[in-house]
């Protein structure tokens, strides 16, 4: 029994090497060096000015929110997402899932932030295993966009490019929408348009991702690659080149850049 109680504490300590502020409903703030949870109770480890540590017990009903500090892996994953490296994002965030999920119902939690990193990466990579794992672990995020995005990704992987899927994507890909759902829908619509050789439609869909869904840079490389593909296919090489330059400047290490380079016709050899 003792062991069982000790184990989560160790886990919490390991995960909370950084300080986290616990904001109480009465306006007080407790700076915690570690947190652990048991049911409706929160064990807060504090260290006083003399460096003496102690543990306080709080009821969750007293807590207004916890300002969880970003774990280093999350910081790194954000950088990777901004660099358009979906595979590395998935890898980097895998270890954060259990601990983040544990506090998913506490205001200020990082669960939604973690999903915001993992879900688009899963969608881009079409990683069925990771998706199924995420579905199993799913806890309500409180973010309607994320809930909708998950549904869309699951449906898309199940239904493929069916007419019903297309309709569904179209219904969320509203011009000006900034949501992750819209971003993912535009990627799918772009791919469908490419398949159908509807180049203008493909260009519209892919470019909408960068223009409107600025907050999800992880979606930009596949979207730019799709747009380049559409431009090259329709013979609009100047337009393709401009987006190629964007890809090169913004995502120099992305896999999409290498693929795009293969698409671009070689410049004429100077005699």
């Amino acid at each position: 029994m003792k062991r069982l109680l000790f184990f989560p504490w160790l886990l919490a300590v390991c995960l909370s090497a950084r300080a986290e502020d616990v904001f109480l409903k009465d306006g007080k703030v407790v700076r915690a060096q570690g947190l652990r949870r048991e049911g409706n109770f929160l064990f807060v480890r504090t260290v006083n000015a003399e460096g003496v540590g102690s543990e306080a017990l709080l009821q969750f009903s007293q807590v207004e929110r916890i300002a969880f500090g970003d774990p280093p892996a999350m910081v790194e994953a954000r950088k990777l997402a901004n660099a358009g490296n979906a595979a590395a994002v998935l890898e980097k965030t895998a270890s954060l899932v259990p601990s983040t999920r544990l506090f998913a119902d506490v205001p200020g939690n990082l669960w939604a932030d973690l999903v915001r990193l993992r879900l688009p990466a899963i969608a881009i990579l079409k990683d069925r295993d990771a998706l199924s794992e995420l579905q199993k672990q799913w806890v309500v995020t409180g973010d309607a966009d994320l809930e909708e995005a998950l549904k869309l990704v699951v449906e898309s992987q199940a239904a493929g490019d069916s007419k019903a899927s297309l309709q569904r994507w179209k219904s969320v890909a509203v011009p000006g929408a900034t949501s992750l759902t819209a971003g993912l829908a535009w990627l799918e619509l772009g791919k469908a348009a490419l398949e159908a050789k509807q180049w203008k439609e493909a260009v519209r869909a892919f470019l909408s991702v960068e223009v409107f869904v600025a907050n999800y840079r992880i979606l930009h490389p596949p979207a730019l690659l799709g747009a380049i593909r559409a431009f090259v296919s329709s013979g609009e090489l100047k337009d393709a080149k401009i987006r190629m330059e964007v890809l090169q400047a913004e995502f120099p290490n992305s896999a999409e850049l290498r693929l795009a380079a293969e698409l671009m016709p070689l410049p004429p050899v100077k005699k």
Partner: protein, 978 residues
């Protein structure tokens, strides 16, 4: 193109010193109310002279005054407070009354009096509780009265006093310094507020002000950094609209500095109005929740109640401010269009028009109208840039509809007009360019628009209108860049109208004025053509020679040589003409010219009976131009010349050889002509020198007996076998096209040997068994027609569409235009039908299907109730001898219909009667004409005559199969008995 920054708090007139005026007033109000509640007023000791009753009265008055104050009734509050002060002597608590009066005067915008009262307070109560507040009030009054230097000193004094007003004083002072352009000093003042981070509303105010100062100083990155921090703290930013305004400012600064990426990052932070509202509502709810939670805790834990209630007082002041801001946000216009315009500009600066288009389109449904004009124009222009002509035209049309007098109205019309011209939509371009020319004569684009308008009329072959526009242009813009071309085009209009008498002097005048002009070679060539029209052949030859001397290497040389050859032919110098035509073939730069010269030369040789030279001509042409579009036609004529030379067997052999090489090539649309020719040659026995001159009649046994010659009868001639001997499928590719073409040859043979049923069946097999995309133009055209006759509309459409798509330059496209027009008519789409028929005539001349097209056009015009134009079309059909047949009868019938629908029954009846008098063979038309004639007489109140027509119809048994027969019967039965 980017419109000014939306007037938000940052630049708004209601802003005072970086802190909104309302907010300052709000703080004064709050303080005053606190005073009311904190200090009970005027005790008996403080007012001994007044009785207890009057004390109570004054106390009530003060309460009432503070209520007025709280309700924003400052004037009333001032009056009440002044009354209190006049009726009682000074005493403890009196400081509150004096302070409240000063505050009420300030809020009532009586700054001079307010300042006096604040100063009076400071003089009377140097140790008073509100000294710092009063000093702050003095500063605000000084500022309001324009005494900036004095205000700065006062704020500095408040800062030095410390206390609750310190931060507010710093903010006011910094804002003041900013207006005095002392940005460094202002920034220095603000730094301490932000030193401990952005945690309080005051620090937010400070951060906003500092960011604005950093922008002014050109420190965009520092400003952007602050803005980013503020966006991450929506819980304490009381005025998100102000933050949005600041973000626009930062983005604009980046855009101005051409740092597009950062500008886009800044604009990406700007929140839409609905998002701001949602966030702000959430903030209000959170404040409410905190107040409720504190109250509940205070109740449960009395020991903490003082602290918690104090915290709630602060939270309530935030809540009040937040509610005020909410009202302000609701009144603020949407920022969507200004935001999208800016973001689009960023992309456009990087040559990314598509992204700009997406942004413009996303704002089109914005409810706010401000900025819509710029939005629509920019979208139209971006589509034009991308050559998305249809989209561009649609958007610019919308612009012109919504903003006919807008600032870009002329540019929008110009852009729309040029886009329509790009798509060759000339009819649509005319009203657009005309609106620009007539409605905006002073526009910079007016001259070009007028020039293009003339060109548009020219393209529409409306030469008189074109001349009118060009002449007006020449008058209005005599020194314009286009004047030479306009002069030339006027001559060209006369020329194209066939008015050579006017064209000739116009070309000569042009040539004289522009000897080295861009159109000099063309003008001289056309001058020669004018002389040719007047049959002045020697002049033509002289001009052509002069042309060769002057412009020998011009690309028109082939045309000029052809003209010279035409003139020689006109003079009946046929051999000389042939020689020049051959030169023309050699020098021609276009296929059409070479083709013209080739077949004209052949005509001359035919007239001379020089079939040998015809053979030479075509053989030489085929040697030098094997891939020429006229090559297949040349094979045809070559074999005809061979036949004329009596070399029928060789001709068959030659045709077969050529067919073998061409039959699998879909693009060679004259292969069917060769097949038809071979079928024709095989349809009859080849006459041998000993045989009868009439090759189609084989010598009979009796003929031979009569001549005393005993010869066995010749075997019956089998054309099919003969044809098959030349077309061996095993030597050809096994392709649907080849099979279809071989069937076509059989069908042609069947038609020529008078087996129409077989011919039709074979064509049906081609229609049913060959996919449209496998056939050449000729079979697509014929199959489309056949399917149309069979009533298979949808399948016919597929063939016609394939014909238009795969053979965009084929002369046989008129089959498709006609077919599509007929279908549109059937579907009741008269306007669409009219477009198809007009295109058939205007775009390709409708050579093969002219009769059907003109007739169809008439029907479309009739359906559109454009009676006069319909009449012209029907008259054209009815008057054409070559088109005589059922269509003529139909045209006459429809002429009657035109007048019937116009209500001119007397005129109508004449046409209907003409049908059953002159076109009795066409029973279905005749039957309809009888009934319609009856209708006319009934309308004219001659029922007997109408009945006579019905009876006449019933007498004609051949008409009994038509529904009109039953109609006539019914009408007679219903007629009243005499």
């Amino acid at each position: 193109m980017v419109p000014p920054i939306p007037t938000g708090r940052l630049r708004g007139a209601n802003r005072l010193l970086g802190v909104p005026t309302r907010q300052i007033c709000q703080s004064l109000i709050s303080l005053s109310l606190v005073l009311v509640s904190a200090k009970p007023l005027i005790t008996s000791a403080q007012a001994p002279a007044a009785g207890a009753q009057s004390e109570v009265v004054l106390g009530d008055r003060y309460k009432a005054a503070m209520e007025d104050f709280g309700n924003g009734e400052y004037k009333k509050a001032v009056a009440s407070l002044q009354e209190i002060l006049s009726k009682a002597t000074d005493g403890p608590g009196w400081d509150s009354v004096r302070y409240s009066l000063a505050a009420a005067l300030f809020n009532n915008k009586e700054y001079k009096k307010s300042r006096e009262k604040f100063e009076e307070y400071l003089k009377l109560y140097p140790q008073g509780a509100k000294v710092a507040d009063a000093q702050m009030g003095v500063g605000q009054c000084q500022l309001a009265l324009g005494d900036k230097a004095g205000a700065a000193k006062t704020f500095a004094l408040v800062v030095s006093m410390g206390g609750a007003n310190k931060e507010q004083a710093i903010l006011s002072q910094a804002a003041l310094l900013k207006t005095l352009q002392k940005n460094d000093e202002a920034a220095g003042l603000l730094q301490p507020i932000l030193a401990s981070g952005v945690r309080s509303p005051e620090s937010v105010e400070g951060a906003l002000l500092l960011a604005s100062i950093e922008v002014a100083k050109g420190n965009r990155d520092r400003a952007f950094q602050i803005v980013n921090i503020l966006y991450n703290r929506p819980d304490i930013v009381n005025n998100p609209i102000q933050l949005n305004g600041l973000t626009f400012e930062v983005g604009d600064a980046y855009l101005k500095a051409k740092d597009v990426k950062k500008a886009l990052s800044a604009y990406a932070l700007v929140r839409k109005k609905e998002d701001v509202l949602a966030l702000h509502n959430a903030r209000i709810q959170a404040l409410n929740r905190r107040i409720e939670a504190n109250a509940a805790t205070a109740k449960a834990e009395p020991a903490r109640s003082v602290d918690l209630l104090e915290a709630n007082n602060i939270l309530r002041s935030y809540l009040e401010a937040a509610k005020g801001t909410l009202e302000e946000i609701e009144k603020t216009p949407s920022n969507l269009i200004p935001l999208r315009l800016r973001q689009a500009r960023c992309y456009q600066d990087e040559g990314r028009q598509w992204e700009a288009v997406l942004l413009f389109e996303s704002a089109l449904n914005a409810t706010e109208k401000a900025g819509r004009e710029d939005l629509l124009y920019s979208l139209g222009a971006a589509h034009a840039e991308l050559e998305n002509t249809d989209e561009s035209v649609a958007v610019l049309e919308l612009y012109s509809k919504e903003f006919p007098k807008g600032k870009n109205a002329d540019s929008a019309l110009y852009l729309e007009g040029t886009q329509l011209l790009r798509k060759e939509r000339y009819e649509a371009a005319v009203p657009v360019l005309s609106r620009l020319v007539e409605g905006f004569p002073k526009s910079k684009a007016a001259d070009r628009a007028q020039f293009y308008l003339g060109n548009t009329y020219f393209a529409l072959a409306q030469y008189p209108k074109a001349i009118e526009v060009y002449e007006k242009y020449a008058q209005q813009y005599p020194t314009s860049d286009h004047i030479e071309e306009v002069t030339y085009r006027i001559a060209l209009c006369h020329f194209s109208s066939g008015v050579y008498a006017k064209a000739l002097p116009a070309f000569e005048s042009y040539s004289k004025a522009n000897p080295g002009g861009a159109f000099a070679a063309d003008a001289l060539y056309r001058t020669g053509f004018c002389y040719f029209a007047a049959k002045q052949y020697p002049d033509v030859i002289q001009i052509c020679d002069a042309w060769e001397t002057k412009f020998g290497y011009d690309s028109l040389r082939g045309e000029v040589l052809s003209l010279k050859a035409d003139a020689l032919a006109g003079k009946e110098q046929r051999m000389e003409a042939v020689a020049v035509y051959r030169q023309a073939i050699e020098k021609a730069t276009t296929d059409q010219v070479a083709q013209y010269a080739l077949f004209e030369a052949n005509k001359q040789l035919q007239k001379l009976g020089r079939w040998d030279l015809s053979v030479d001509l075509f053989q030489e042409f085929l040697n030098t131009h094997p891939e020429h579009p006229a090559a297949t036609g040349a094979y045809y004529w070559l074999t005809r010349a061979m036949i004329k030379q009596g070399k029928t067997v060789e001709a068959k052999q030659y045709l077969a050889e050529k067919i073998y090489t061409l039959i699998g090539d879909r693009s060679k649309d004259a292969v069917e002509q060769l097949l038809s020719q071979l079928a024709q040659l095989c349809s009859k026995r080849v006459p041998t020198p000993a045989a009868s001159p009439d090759a189609s009649v084989a010598p009979t046994v009796s003929d031979n007996v009569a001549e005393g010659v005993v010869v066995p009868p010749a075997p019956a001639y089998d054309g099919g076998k003969e044809l098959a001997s030349f077309l061996d499928p095993s030597k050809m590719a096994d392709a649907p096209l080849v099979k279809a073409r071989l069937r076509y040859a059989e069908a042609e043979l069947a038609r020529m040997t008078k087996r129409p049923k077989d011919a039709q069946d074979l064509l049906d097999q081609i229609c049913d068994q060959t996919p449209a995309n496998a056939l050449g133009a000729s079979l697509l055209a014929q199959c489309g027609d056949r399917l149309m006759a069979r009533g298979q509309k949808e399948k016919a459409k597929v063939f016609f569409q394939e014909l238009m798509k795969a053979f965009p330059h084929s002369e046989l496209r008129d089959y498709a235009y006609n077919g599509m027009g007929q279908f549109a008519l059937e579907e009741g789409k008269a306007e669409e039908a009219l477009r198809w028929f007009d295109d058939a005539i205007d775009k390709i001349g409708a050579s093969t299907k002219l009769k059907d097209v003109v007739y169809g056009r008439g029907r479309a015009l009739l359906a559109l109730q454009r009676f006069d134009e319909a009449k012209v079309s029907f008259e054209q059909v009815a008057a054409s001898r070559e088109w005589k047949g059922e269509t003529t009868a139909e045209a006459v019938y429809l002429l009657g219909e035109v007048f019937f629908q116009k209500g001119d029954y007397s005129a109508a009846v004449q046409y209907f009667q003409r049908v059953f008098v002159a076109y009795q063979r066409y029973h279905s038309v005749v039957a309809k004409a009888y009934i319609r004639a009856g209708d006319c007489f009934e309308k004219l109140a001659y029922p007997e005559k109408a009945q006579a027509h019905y009876r006449e119809l019933l007498r004609k048994e051949k008409l009994s199969e038509f529904p009109e027969y039953a109609t006539a019967k019914k009408r007679l039965n219903n007629a009243p008995e005499k």
